[in-house]
Symmetry: C2
Subunit: 299 residues, 2 copies
């Protein structure tokens, strides 16, 4: 059996009882180690907690070395651990497909991930649109395809969850070119850097998918003991010191109801200003909710 | 301390280790009992598993009796258990706000919910738009505000998660009018009924937010041992016997990539037909991805 087991967001004890029981019966345990990190536990702590060694699975191993992971999984139990839930990233559906085709039964043990736990900022999950990723800009590479997606979401009143880049076990271009397996220290994007990149692209594009005054929610260390929420405008949070990783950002849509706003106001010292900022941003799309026009539309 | 603890989707052991540890220190344990059900465990099994009594919290208690839930929670630990994750429904942010205002510290223990575990059907969570709820139609009440939302999602290529109505501890209109506390047996919407209602409203509206040939994914008993996925068109799945509850449905958007489609094809006996159905449905929005036009748009 191949078990895909979500570890949840932060603590080693965020694993489910069922997940932990499964691990204890496994002969090999892999930990996916490139799309996220478990904030409150080190590898050694996990190994002690599980009572067995944990093998780190980097991108190469997962994307090209799946035979190694799946080896003998038809005869014994193998666990593949993923921070959050196993179905955040496509590569894991790839692993499931390979297992199925090799006749290996697969069992998934779900857990919380940022995709649903983001609801703890008080905004209804129902009103989120597509999720976007914000990658670290480099001198020559400043991808902005997320801009249109934010725009599409906001046109129909929806919030946008922005996932902030993390770089774990990345090579510099020079080291990669020279084939040297030397890895850069891990990097995690901060809220202020994300807001800076948002402002830069809006300044270039200028089509007002959002403005410097658009309200956002900074979510730091979600699900950990030091979890912090902070609300403000993009401009304001470009000056915000968000502290230790991991961070995510929510760009507000029009669909922010009274109780949701009330909840968000707990996360600012300047409640009046934020209330006004939300009202002004909503005004931009008023009076009516925006509905995409089409020729067939006779309503 | 007030603990809001997610129970996950199905098994009693889907609770996290941290959640279980918290419950064991609580003097009172409530189980939210009107928005969802835990599929694989009865109340008695939960009580035995936790080693203490569990109080069922119905809508009345949660929405109007929060003093009772929060009583003494400043001096002792109280757990409020929610199937899935605590932040699926707004009423629980309300409970958190009340606790905070009463000076009661709150800790949230997240877990998987349909909102993220739906990723196990193989579609990327990134490409889901707003979520809609499908309620049971009655003779005089056939609400269809979800229709525009599906349309908005599909116009920008996004999938729509449709949550199917459940009725737990509901009164008949007659009993309610007479003030009799007699409750109807629980009801859970099936995939075929959901598809019938989709077809009915499309026939009335006729603006082709989707058609009878639009591909959908039926998700039954997500996260349980008998979890089942089935793909087909809305028309086809209106004939599908989805078995025991709970069910959800995903209406496909244009953003269905090759690997995702390959994964979905595992859930049909007629791969060729489904592949063609997906291609035909995508064609409807081609060639270019639809982008909402505006006056300011100079691109």
């Amino acid at each position: 059996m191949l078990y895909l087991i979500g570890l949840g967001l932060s603590y080693k004890s965020d694993i489910t009882v069922r997940g932990l029981e499964a691990i204890r019966n496994c002969s090999r345990v892999y930990l996916e180690h490139y799309t996220s990190i478990l904030m409150a536990a080190s590898l050694e702590e996990l190994e002690e907690y599980y009572g067995k060694p944990v093998l780190l699975a980097d991108r190469e191993l997962v994307e090209t070395g799946s035979e190694q992971i799946l080896k003998d999984a038809d005869k014994e139990d193998v666990a593949f651990l993923v921070v959050g839930d196993p179905f955040g990233a496509t590569t894991h559906t790839d692993l499931v497909l390979r297992a199925k085709r090799a006749g290996i039964p697969v069992e998934v043990v779900h857990n919380a991930s940022v995709m649903n736990a983001v609801g703890s900022c008080g905004l209804q999950l129902y009103n989120f649109g597509q999720t976007v990723s914000m990658v670290f800009f480099t001198e020559n590479w400043r991808p902005d395809s997320w801009y249109d997606k934010i725009w599409e979401n906001r046109k129909i009143g929806l919030h946008t969850l922005v996932l902030l880049d993390i770089k774990v076990k990345e090579q510099s271009i020079e080291n990669m070119a020279r084939g040297r397996l030397i890895y850069e220290p891990p990097r995690y994007m901060s809220i202020s850097q994300c807001c800076d990149q948002l402002l830069e692209i809006e300044a270039t594009r200028g089509t007002k998918a959002y403005t410097p005054d658009t309200p956002v929610v900074a979510i730091s260390r979600l699900g950990s003991a030091s979890q912090t929420f902070k609300v403000g405008t993009i401009e304001e949070l470009s000056q915000y010191d968000s502290g230790e990783p991991l961070h995510s950002l929510v760009i507000l849509g029009r669909q922010c109801h009274e109780l949701e706003l009330e909840y968000l106001l707990e996360f600012t010292d300047n409640r009046e200003k934020f209330k006004n900022d939300v009202a002004a941003d909503q005004e931009y799309f008023k009076p009516a909710a925006w509905v995409p026009p089409t020729e067939e539309d006779s309503e």
